[in-house]
């Protein structure tokens, strides 16, 4: 298609660089520098979407990020498909594929448009009132149907292959918005030595100057001044310019979130570039130069494609060389409509009429319009538009004494409207600053600050090019000076407007301060006239009036009832007009009705940018031991234990080459440890080195056990309680010398235990000369367990006497293994003769391999955490977190022996003295045997005395651990049961969904109850 609506010259597009793209399957051409919106308008396309609720045909309303209608899908491929992009922000590139949304079967004929005819039955609050019965139907029926009908856009179903990165950054002054105020602020701040960041959401920096064709600044045409200023800023080392970067969130202490679109505009982005980058910028001072948004007028049929904001129409023409139509009707409440009309007329667009809401029309711009022969009609409103899929005419009527006269139809293909400008106070409001109502300009302006920020230019209601430039310069200078004194407290008052130290003589149209909020009169049957307030949420003036009739008084309630200003709009186009309508309906002034909260993000932000690099294998650290790769090479299946990967079991090929399942592998591994020897990677155990003259005293206070008499070279099993007396962690502790303990903790408990110890040391006992150092990662721990363990290790440890007498159970020796320093523990978590070889982790795998080789003559068997669990359960050894749940005392889990009765104090001692802590009906650790030896109970299953007892059946306890024991030939289980120790020998029941299982309460030690094998 041709660019029928393209001007022969002018604009900022690169006419030497044509770009072809597709929209809804049709190929169009535009130029480099076009947005999707400007390129479609140049091709005469205005119909680009269907509305959310009524499926009404919609066109472009604006030319910027405030666009509520033209939401499109842009897809590079199935995975790179992004819904709900604003066509006004999408830069076209060669081959771009875009499509409209929310229509079926096609944009021009949409079945959902039946909703528009049914609209008298779909008022605001319809959902709340209609879909209430029958109960439950909302979830099953109504909500899915409504979502399917009303949804905007479709999310891709395949993973996003693109990269998104995040960067922390710091600057002295962040300037948000690179229009005239922001540029001047950046100039001033950078001239005062500040490190300045200047961010703007658009592809080009310049803001309103990009649409200027006649204004001059410092004697230069605006475009030239802009070019020179950007060159000046770019040349300064202390300035960072960020186009395509939206400041979307203002967080406490001047943390500003900036979304930079890095590759979105490129036809062939490199694979190494991030698609978007999140800047987490900490700015000492912020200058908000976000400008102002033009307000639409609320009149019937103001949503027909071809009806757009006046200044946006001017932007399409001046910046992109795209005429919004051939013949325009302008409806305005301020001088902005005249400026647009004059520019469009100069660009070759016929101005059929200007309907001015104001009774008195005076000033320079109206005078120029009259002089140009434009039909200017004061006290005139547009009461409707006609045309299928595109405006074809507007109905104009005079308003006299509040009465709307007869309508006159004027043919046109575009209607430009302007209700004045609303300062963009979104970021200021996000910073929790308080807005104040300014009667003179009829707008909310930034009032009391909370953060270290200031607004500049139109964002704080300052208009007129020269005044805006000078205000920007003054605010930038003040920000730079304030940033030097960062120690000063955050400001609580509005800064006095500083006088600019630099003049910016500028010549530009003065738009004055007129404007209108609310709905314009139309005199039509209100039931049949739809005058839109919020285009995106399909909210009309009568929806808002209905809300007030139903009793809503606060704008917050009106917003929730009607959904006006919600979602991505965040009040950009709709807020002030909604307020005006409520104000009129209730007869209350605008500030009495309040203002809704502006929430981040300022414009929609992708999920990808929030996820950043934290996805897939890099979502969290994956911790692997030094022996991990050996286990992987030997076929281990792994399980996650906190952030660690631990070998779960080592399946082998069995009969016929079939791999063992977990049950078979664990049975084989268990038998091997009991019969000969097994090897186990225990490196993930937490380790803390407690060192200092007061080390033993500290251990005494932290653990329940007594440590003073533990000799160097000996180990002890230690139990640690919380202040409330319940078991927190356990582990074996070795005393290496009088002032050095090697403490081990559970794998998952390591950080918690260290923090617990440090907490006491720093807050309760700072006088103790003892220090804690985490050594979890210093040591690889290789457990060698089984009757042959000593014989496996003996050849590797010539300098340590491993004999039973020289190195008894629960001892520690320091020496070396293959030249590597080692701390050798004689310790067992299996009930067999056992050793744990601690070596520096860098040698962990090499030592493991040497031990494995030495054990091959005994068929040494690597085993995983599952076998470890079974072996310890056979011995009745608890696992903290499995047999305990934060409410178990040491005595509850048969560890009463580990509590030093003679000790003066230890953490948790006082709590243990409470009567309830030794009540006879506390849940106590016992064993369970099932009548059927093959039946393995479910962990967590409840235990009752009489399953036939009336509901609720009294519950006695529950199963904590349950396994099939290959060595014993029957299943085993551990359980905590009320008064359990007194019930040993009793028969109890475990009721399951399909049957009741009978169990016998037994001692919790199933294997080698006398412990003879430990000391073999």
């Amino acid at each position: 298609m041709t660019n029928r609506f393209r001007t022969p010259s002018g604009g900022r597009i690169d006419r030497a660089a044509p770009v072809s793209f597709r929209f809804d399957g049709q190929t169009f051409s535009g130029f480099k520098g076009d947005t999707l919106a400007s390129a479609l308008i140049a091709n005469g396309v205005h119909l680009v979407g269907r509305s959310f609720k009524y499926h009404r045909p919609r066109g472009f309303l604006s030319a910027g990020s405030d666009e509520p209608n033209a939401l499109v899908n842009v897809a590079r491929d199935a995975a790179r498909s992004a819904p709900n992009l604003r066509a006004t922000q999408v830069e076209i590139y060669q081959g771009l594929k875009a499509s409209s949304q929310n229509r079926w079967p096609s944009l021009a004929f949409d079945a959902g448009a039946v909703n528009d005819l049914a609209s008298p039955f779909l008022p605001s609050g319809f959902y709340y009132k209609t879909f209430m019965w029958p109960a439950g139907a909302w979830k099953r029926f109504y909500e899915p149907k409504i979502r399917a009908m009303a949804g905007l856009g479709v999310a891709p179903t395949v993973p996003d292959p693109d990269r998104y990165t995040q960067n922390y950054a710091y600057c002295d002054v962040l300037v948000v918005g690179a229009g005239p105020a922001g540029l001047a602020a950046a100039l001033a701040a950078s001239e005062n030595g500040a490190k300045v960041w200047l961010a703007d959401e658009q592809a080009e920096l310049g803001g309103s100057l990009l649409s200027e064709t006649s204004a001059t600044i410092e004697g230069m045409p605006a475009a030239e001044w802009l070019k020179a200023t950007l060159a000046t800023l770019a040349a300064r080392d202390n300035v960072t310019l960020l186009p395509r970067t939206t400041a979307f969130g203002y967080f406490p202490h001047n943390l500003i979130a900036l979304a930079e679109r890095v590759t979105e505009h490129l036809a062939a982005p490199g694979a190494d570039l991030p698609r978007e980058r999140l800047w987490k910028l900490r700015a000492k001072e912020v200058v908000i130069a976000a400008g102002a948004l033009e307000r639409p007028l609320v009149f019937p049929d103001n949503d027909r494609p071809g009806v757009l904001l006046a200044d946006s129409g001017r932007t399409y023409l001046n910046r992109y060389g795209a005429k919004p139509g051939e013949r325009a009707v302008v409806f305005t409440a301020c001088d902005a409509g005249y400026r647009a009309a004059l520019d469009l007329k100069a660009g070759g667009v016929t101005i059929a009429a200007i309907a001015d809401l104001r009774a008195e029309v005076s000033g320079e711009l109206p005078a120029r319009a009259l002089a140009a022969g434009i039909d200017v009609r004061p006290s005139t409103v547009v009461v409707g538009t006609k045309g299928r899929l595109r405006v074809a005419s507007a109905q104009l009527a005079k308003v006299k004494n509040g009465q709307v006269g007869p309508a006159e139809t004027i043919a046109c293909d575009v209607v430009l409207m302007s209700g004045g400008f609303t300062p963009s106070v979104h970021l200021f409001s996000q910073s929790r600053g308080k807005l104040t109502w300014d009667v003179a300009s009829g707008a909310y302006l930034p009032g009391t600050s909370v953060e270290r920020e200031r607004s500049a230019g139109a964002a704080r209601g300052v208009y007129g090019l020269q005044r805006v430039l000078e205000d920007g310069y003054a605010q930038g200078e003040a920000a730079a000076l304030a940033s030097r004194d960062f120690a000063s407290p955050a400001r609580g008052t509005t800064p006095a407007p500083a006088a600019s130290s630099r003049a910016f003589p500028a010549v530009a149209d003065d738009l004055g301060a007129d404007g209108f909020i609310g709905a314009t009169p139309h005199g039509r049957n209100p039931a049949l006239a739809k005058a839109f307030v919020d285009w995106q949420n399909d909210v009309t003036s009568k929806d808002i009036q209905l809300a007030t009739r139903e009793g809503m008084r606060s704008i917050e309630h009106v917003k929730r009832y009607t959904t006006t200003g919600m979602a991505t709009d965040q009040g950009k186009t709709s807020n002030m007009n909604a307020l005006g309508i409520v104000s009129e309906a209730l007869g209350e002034s605008v500030p009495k009705i309040g203002l809704t909260t502006f929430r981040p993000p300022f414009t929609p932000t992708t999920f990808g940018i929030f996820a950043g690099e934290a996805r897939g294998d890099l979502f969290d650290p994956v911790r692997k031991t030094a022996i991990h790769d050996w286990a992987a090479e030997h076929g281990a299946a792994f399980e996650d234990v906190s952030l660690w990967k631990r070998a779960h079991y080592f399946p082998r090929a069995g009969e016929g080459g079939r791999m063992e399942d977990m049950h078979a592998a664990v049975a084989r591994e268990c038998r091997a440890v009991r019969a000969s020897v097994g090897i186990f990677d225990a490196s993930t155990l937490g380790k803390i080195e407690v060192v200092g003259p007061d080390a033993a005293e500290f251990m005494n206070r932290i653990y329940t056990n007594a440590w003073a008499k533990l000799e160097p070279g000996r180990l002890r099993y230690g139990v640690m309680l919380r202040e409330d007396g319940f078991v927190m962690d356990d582990g074996v502790v070795g005393r290496l010398s009088h002032d050095r303990f090697h403490v081990t903790t559970t794998t998952g408990g390591a950080p918690r235990v260290l923090a617990h110890m440090e907490d006491y040391l720093q807050t309760e006992w700072p006088d103790l000369d003892v220090w804690l150092t985490s050594t979890t990662e210093q040591w690889s721990v290789i457990a060698v367990q089984g009757p042959k363990a000593r014989e496996v290790l003996r050849p590797l440890l010539p300098d340590i006497d491993l004999s039973k007498d020289a190195f008894p159970h629960m001892s520690v020796r320091e020496g070396s293994i293959l030249g590597v320093p080692t701390r050798l523990f004689s310790v067992s978590f299996t009930g067999e003769l056992g050793f744990e070889v601690n070596v520096p982790a860098e040698y962990g795998r090499a030592v493991w391999e040497a031990i494995y080789a030495s054990g091959e003559r005994f068929g040494i068997t690597p085993y995983g955490t599952e076998t470890m669990h079974v072996l310890r359960a056979e011995k009745g050894y608890i696992i903290v977190g499995q047999e305990t749940d934060g409410t178990a005392t040491p005595d509850d889990v048969n560890l009463g022996w580990a509590v030093g009765k003679a000790k003066k104090d230890f953490v948790g001692k006082r709590s243990l003295a409470r009567a309830a802590m030794s009540a006879p009906d506390r849940k106590q650790l016992v064993g369970l045997r099932t009548a059927d030896p093959k039946l393995v109970l479910e962990e967590g299953a409840q235990i009752v005395a009489d399953p036939k007892a009336p509901v609720p059946v009294p519950m006695l306890g529950f199963v904590t651990s349950s396994y099939a024991s290959a060595v014993l030939g029957h299943s085993i289980a551990l359980a905590v049961i009320k008064g359990g120790r007194a019930r040993i020998g009793q028969k109890l029941s475990v009721p399951m969904a399909d049957r009741v299982i009978e169990v016998e309460v037994v001692e919790p030690v199933f294997y080698d109850p006398k412990g003879e094998r430990l000391n073999a």
Binding site: P621, V622, E777, G819, V820, E842, Y843
Partner: protein, 187 residues
Amino acid sequence: MPELASANPLSALATRSRDVAAARLVALGPAARFVFRGREAAIGAAGGAFGVPLPREACRRAEANGRFALWLGPDEWLLIAPGADPAPIFVAIEAATAGLPHSLVDVSARSVGIELAGAQAAFVLNQGNALDLSPEAFPVGACTRTLFHKAEIVLVRHAPDVFHIDVWRSFAPYVWELLEEGRRELA
């Protein structure tokens, strides 16, 4: 010294690594490392025996003869001696501080060292580290225990464009791969 070879969890990743001049990434070799903590009386003696006076200014490192002492807290230092055998250093410091309240723990194998160097090194670090790494805020000689993404690291600036990262062994591949991600766009 042991007859077995010291293994580095980054060796496979380092072999696959691309050279990016703006942010070069190097997996450093073994080093003797100690955590020294103690009361005032022991501090001078420990520094003397290690050969590097322990810095008393917060978040600064001292260097002498290729060895480093990093201030991590008012009574806590990380001592690093690249390429050295930890055993004799441990003995020397213990001898010098005998009877003085302190704790010396050998953590040579607990962590591994990574060097990140180049004009864009700070930019790459700031993808996962929230500190202001400008030369004014984090000058040459600064060191701190901090975070890189979700992993704890010790970060040192040895030269304007040269950073040293000390990271616990099992977190090292995570840190390395995120550094690789961070410098991808600079290739």
